[in-house]
Amino acid sequence: MSYLITQLMREWGFLLRQKYVVVLLLCSLVLSGFAIYSGLSEISTQQQTIERLKVADQSDRAIVHKKQSDAGMLAYYSFHLTYSQPSNLAFAALGERDIFPWKHRINLLALEGQIYESDAQNAELAQAGKIDFVFVISALAPMVIILLFHDLFASERTSGRHDLLVTTAKSYFALWGARITVRFVAIIVCLMLPFFVGGFIAGASAYEVAYVSLLCIVYLAFWTALSVWWGKNATSAPRVASSLIGLWVLFAFIIPILGDLAINKSVHSPKGGDIMLTQREAVNDAWDLPKSATMQPFIIEYPALAPYIDMKSEFEWKWYYAFQQMGDLKAAELSEAYRDAAAKKYELAGFVSWVSPPLLLQRSLTRTANTDSIAAYAYEQQIRDYHQQLREFYYPWLFYKGDPTKAALENMPLFENTTQSSN
């Protein structure tokens, strides 16, 4: 045991004396720290924004409730906040939250006309991408590992010590094993330490932290093994490194880009604009159609409202909202196809990621952190469900109960976000 420790201590000493290794390790620590810091601050901004929005949303609606009493006007002017709370792990994997909206306000009008509105961030910044922990581990760490391990054997060879070292060393491990272990542990510590601190601050569960750590360590071990193995018989360190970097470029850029190209060519999705157009045409045509053209299909959906569809004038709110819903219904097929195509693309991207380790890690972590497009579509579904709840709340007032009392408004359904944590 003590023999092992001496070996490790010796290598530790060697490591600290190599300037470029120390620089690499320090840079990894700084980058990982920056990624965690910015991830945490991004998430805390998102949380604060949601809290502010909740307050503003309530007071905004209170004003509408005070000003309007007519059920139709109330529904027209009341907007309702929906949001998707970042999970405890989101700080490490910001995922698609910069592209998909995580906050939305809707009213009772046709949903298809509202749901694609995006509250996007600065597009030029989104295009450059953000630094988060997943990015540091999946894209940068392999490069650092390649730089750390590619010349393990080659450097000793070129300086003529290799054969001497091998013959005098007590065992294979005593020499290479200890060296590899020390470097591997050092890089893991530098990369993961900020994540543990971040996990603690963000209140991630021990299970989540352990799971993410496991994935990351396996991934880093893969690159270490690859670098060591590749460099075993080489004499020229740069040659080893260039092939490894080539492999990295292949995994991180070429395979994903080609995969993306192939998937986009093979999966046909309706154009987003067509959904909006269909919905808009349906809603606008309804004004000129006989009322029954809207009401008949409507009561198939809501048979309980059938006795109340007669209209006294040419305009009544119940008819107005009924044709809004019929507009959604007309666009439903396209809209589903649009979402199905997105799901299909995500699924196919899963197959591609099996041949690209960086992608695989990114996918697994964004899935765990609930920040991928699956999470985004789940949130969209929550908005749809909530919109349905609102319809069910308003319809009785619009159709037969008359204008709601202020007390009744208290019972208006509130959006509840349930995606606190995944799995």
């Binding site: 991408g129 360190a237 490194a241 960086p358």
Partner: protein, 482 residues
């Protein structure tokens, strides 16, 4: 430099090429580089041409379906709305920039400023988070790496194999040697840029100005020159190939992969901008003060009513020669647009500020500099998007007010007030479909080449500064090579 020296430089460069032609690594790298650039140019060009075609078609379809609407109450058309599509600029076949992130269509309707919709990224596979197959990405990110792989050993190799002292002893000065190696690497740069330059020249026939094309090509040439200089510098500083290689690979990660993201992350932290929903609360509060344009009895319009009665010298709104409801709609639309535009302007300003902060990082990373230079010159930067938003807002305002004008002049006030009484009354409160011919043809054009060139000046300066500093460093080292 004398003729003699110049011929020496050429000899060194030729010799470097001979070395590459014999090296499997260099040839593979060169082939991959050319293949990537070529395929990215072709793929992106096809995609953007399709997009451009699609959007032209969608635009004329949208205009046609507007005009084809039946007789209606004019306010129905205000809500029917209209679409505007952004057609990509010719040069954007080489750098689509933020196109995939902003979405490219916008729904225009009364009383609202919608955001652009259906960003491609929302239908994406999440595979291209690190990069996509666009010429811009390939040349900005991967080309430097290829140059490093070919050139890292250009001088350190001579030193390691101890040929450097011979060369210097035989009267080849350090500067000549470095210049020769640099010339060889620059010829590689020429090879990489050639497909880019040729396809850029083709866009001239599609109406792109020569100035933009020239700035674009020169920008990329300067950028890759920075990398050539960095490689020469590292190769002269380090005594070993491995040292020079490790250092260059590390610098590449920092400058090309890390810095752009640090720039965008820092920018969004340094200049926080409230999202659209959050600003909407403030907007709504302001709008509420203006009153509801659908409701002529809204107390907010009392004064407006008085002034109208006075202007036309009548006692009641029934006596007005024009439709009071239309007047209220028009009046309130104008006031609302005013408020909406104020907030939109604020938002754009804060986005510009953010972008500015991220562009400052161009002083520390040539990659950030070329990124902004390229997007600005091509016309796919945030400024162009803002221009699109402003122009579509003008389009929106014009057609809505056009419809309101029809509402005022063509529709009788009594018929209008009576419109919901029965089916016949509803029919009466309509105007002829002939009135829908008010749409202006919408054609989005990016800023003029002059404006784009002007905007790209800081980025050019950033690249030039890099070149000056690096040339200075190399000159200093070249004198004391060994």
């Amino acid at each position: 430099m004398s003729i003699n020296n110049f011929s020496k430089v050429v000899i060194v460069a030729k010799d470097e090429w001979r070395y590459w032609l014999r090296s499997k690594l260099a040839m593979t790298v060169l082939a991959i580089g050319l293949l990537l650039t070529l395929s990215s140019v072709v793929v992106t060009a096809i995609t953007m041409l399709e997009l451009s075609h699609d959007r032209h078609e969608l635009q004329s379809n949208a205009e046609q379906s507007f005009v084809d609407q039946p007789d209606r109450h004019p306010h129905r058309m205000v809500h029917y709305g209209h679409y505007a599509f952004r057609t990509p600029s010719p040069l954007s076949t080489l750098d689509p920039g933020i196109d995939a992130y902003t979405g490219n269509s916008i729904f225009l309707e009364g009383h609202r400023q919608n955001s652009a919709m259906f960003a491609d990224q929302r239908q994406g596979t999440a595979l291209t988070k690190l990069g996509s197959l666009t010429p811009a990405f390939i040349v900005q990110t991967l080309a430097p790496l290829l140059l490093i792989l070919i050139g890292y050993s250009s001088i350190s190799r001579e030193r390691e194999s101890q040929t450097l002292s011979y060369l210097l002893a035989q009267g080849t000065s350090g500067i000549t040697l470095i210049t020769g190696k640099g010339l060889a690497l620059l010829s590689v740069v020429g090879l990489v840029i050639a497909p880019l330059a040729i396809s850029a020249l083709f866009t001239v026939s599609a109406g792109e100005s020569l100035l933009a094309v020239a700035s674009f090509v020169v920008g990329y040439a300067l950028y890759l020159t920075v990398w050539v200089l960095l490689i020469l510098l590292a190769s002269s500083v380090f005594s070993k190939n491995s040292g020079s290689f490790t250092a260059l690979a590390f610098v590449w990660i920092l400058l090309c992969i890390v810095m752009p993201r640090v720039a965008s992350t820092s920018a969004s932290t340094a200049v926080p901008s409230a999202g659209k929903i959050e600003t909407d609360f403030a907007v709504k509060a302001e709008l509420r003060k203006l009153g509801d344009g659908h409701n002529t009895n809204d107390p907010a319009f009392k004064q407006f009513k008085q002034s109208l009665l006075k202007k036309y010298n009548v006692n009641s709104i029934d006596e007005l020669p024009v439709n009071f409801r239309g007047l209220v709609a028009s009046e309130s639309e104008a006031k609302q647009a005013n408020v909406l535009n104020q907030f939109a302007e604020l938002r754009m300003q804060s986005e510009l500020k953010q972008t500015q902060v991220s562009r400052y990082f161009g002083w520390v990373s040539p990659m950030v500099a070329i990124r902004s230079l390229s997007m600005i010159v091509v016309g796919t930067s945030i400024e162009t998007h803002h221009r699109f938003l402003r122009e579509t807002e003008q389009l929106r305002f014009d057609f809505v007010q056009g419809l309101n004008k029809i509402h005022i002049e063509e529709l009788d006030y009594k018929d209008d007030m009576n419109r919901n009484a029965n089916a016949a009354a509803t029919k009466k409160a309509r105007v002829s479909a002939q009135n829908w011919q008010i749409l202006q043809d919408f054609n989005f054009n990016v800023d003029s080449a002059d404006v784009r060139a002007q905007r790209s000046v800081p980025a050019f300066l950033q690249l030039l500064l890099w070149i000056v500093v690096l040339v200075g460093g190399i000159k200093f080292l070249g004198k004391r090579l060994l």
